[in-house]
């Protein structure tokens, strides 16, 4: 019927517009930030420290962000994998496990400012870790933990039972099977999950603001117990409290660097994923 054909056509256009909108928004953001911030990107900007708050460069901020993300993954990665192993391989199907899972999922919904406040109260004051790289990294780790746990659990669960059977039939124990066959087979999914969590952590402002430092530090931390600068907090400070006419441009420049790091990680995650898929070629014979 002609009516149906016309409907099909219009729906197709509508769906196309919706998809394009998503892409356009991303492109618009990237374009806008790049145009406004590219002028700020000089070698000096990237390699020198801030001078009197709104002059100088953002080197400590860049390195600080990388340090924070490092500590964050150092915590959330292993804990996520082990928790994922437990939930997938050892946890019995009962109310205790259901509750455990509910709490982990709920953690994902906690507003980041609340996690930041928790980090301040628990890590900084109660545990006496002070405002530091360690406090900031751990708080970020708490924030992305639901994602690393979920990604690990799903990746491990997706490993076909036939691999486990084959391993057990050769005389391996359950733990040996998990360690040497299952986790290795689940590695692509786990790594992708970690990289995605990393992406979330990189731009996280509220948590870091309350636990890691003022963002304006002009030095690198000498240990994990010292405060550390970060790009998102620096951006926030400059944008809200900058006095010079240059302030906003500086903010855009920082945003551009942050975006650059974020995109690099995402592209890297894609490449890693593709490498794993390529290496295994055909999945099932």
């Amino acid at each position: 019927m002609v009516n149906e054909q016309v409907k099909e056509k219009y729906i197709k256009i509508l769906l196309y517009v919706a998809a394009s909108l998503s892409i356009l928004i991303l492109i618009a953001i990237m374009f806008f930030i790049t145009i406004k911030g590219i002028g700020m990107i000089t070698f000096e900007f990237l390699t020198t420290a801030p001078y009197r708050f709104e002059y100088g460069g953002i080197f400590p901020q860049i390195i600080g962000t990388l340090y924070l993300v490092g500590v964050c993954i150092g915590f959330a990665g292993p804990v996520g994998i082990l928790a994922g192993m437990y939930l997938s391989e050892y946890a019995p199907v009962n109310i205790v496990t259901k509750t455990l899972r509910f709490f982990i999922e709920s953690l994902a919904g906690v507003p980041s400012i609340v996690i930041g406040l928790f980090g301040l109260a628990f890590l900084v004051y109660y545990m006496h870790l002070q405002i530091s790289l360690l406090s900031g990294g751990l708080a970020l780790g708490f924030m992305i933990l639901p994602w690393t746990v979920r990604a690990s659990e799903e990746a491990i669960r997706a490993v076909p039972f036939s691999y486990r059977e084959a391993s057990l039939a050769l005389g391996a124990s359950k733990w040996q099977t998990i360690k040497q066959v299952v986790v290795k087979a689940a590695a692509p999914g786990i790594v992708t999950g970690i990289l995605l969590g990393l992406g979330k952590a990189i731009g996280e402002t509220a948590v870091v603001l309350l636990t890691a430092g003022s963002g304006l530090e002009s030095f690198l931390p000498r240990s994990i117990f010292e405060p550390v600068a970060s790009l998102p907090v620096y951006l926030y400070m400059i944008a809200t409290q900058g006095h010079t006419s240059e302030a906003y441009t500086r903010a855009y420049g920082t945003a551009l660097v942050l975006l650059g790091i974020f995109l690099t990680i995402n592209i890297f995650a894609s490449l890693v994923r593709n490498y794993y898929i390529k290496k295994h070629l055909v999945r099932f014979g």
Binding site: S162, E165, A166, A172, K184, K279, V282, G285
Partner: protein, 253 residues
Amino acid sequence: MSNQIRVETRNLSLNFGLAKILKNLNISIKSNYVTAIMGPSGCGKSTFIRTLNRLNDLIPECRIEGEVLLDGINILDKKIDVVELRKKVGMVFQKPNPFPKSIYDNISYGPKLHGLANGKKLDEIVERSLKDAALWEEVKDRLDKSALSLSGGQQQRLCIARTLSIQPEVILLDEPCSALDPAATAKIESLMVSLKKNYTVIVVTHNMQQAARVSDFTAFLYLGELIEYGETKQVFNNPNNKLTEDFITGRFG
């Protein structure tokens, strides 16, 4: 013609919950022969051979009565070390399941697990296993490539090589050719026959012609019971039981 019994079941019964899967099986399997376990779908043949390497332990609702003797020792005893048992009784599954690792790592997995060898000795074991599984010539130049890049038939021979790598005494094959094309099937069948020189081969199949082609002895199972067991020639040409005859002539399947 050896007459030594390698595996013997005595009054073996198995239940999954309330369902009786195996009923009072008494089978004696001779060393260095190929014994086929055949029967229609659902007759319990896969469950039967999975009892021989205690893979049924993985199923919590499974309850077993009776005895299974490997070289005279009851392997169903709680005190038996399942790891040692599985070193002696290897299994090849219906659908080829090589690990998502390189060909070399697939074969070396078992020996490394049990600390049997490393370094050069490990290389030798890998080579020997692949040769015994008639796969060496095809893969010797690409041992570091992923096992999943092999064809279905090659993957199954890889799984056989993997089982051989820890030098078991008994090799269980659960419908090893059902996922393969005729050419690959033919290779696996001739491999099974050649393996009996050094191993005791027990193969489950629902394909009668395959049972007739490769085996020396055949056991016919129906609804969990042993209907007939004897030399393959006799079971196929001169069955003692009407049910066997009906199955062989295709009256049911």
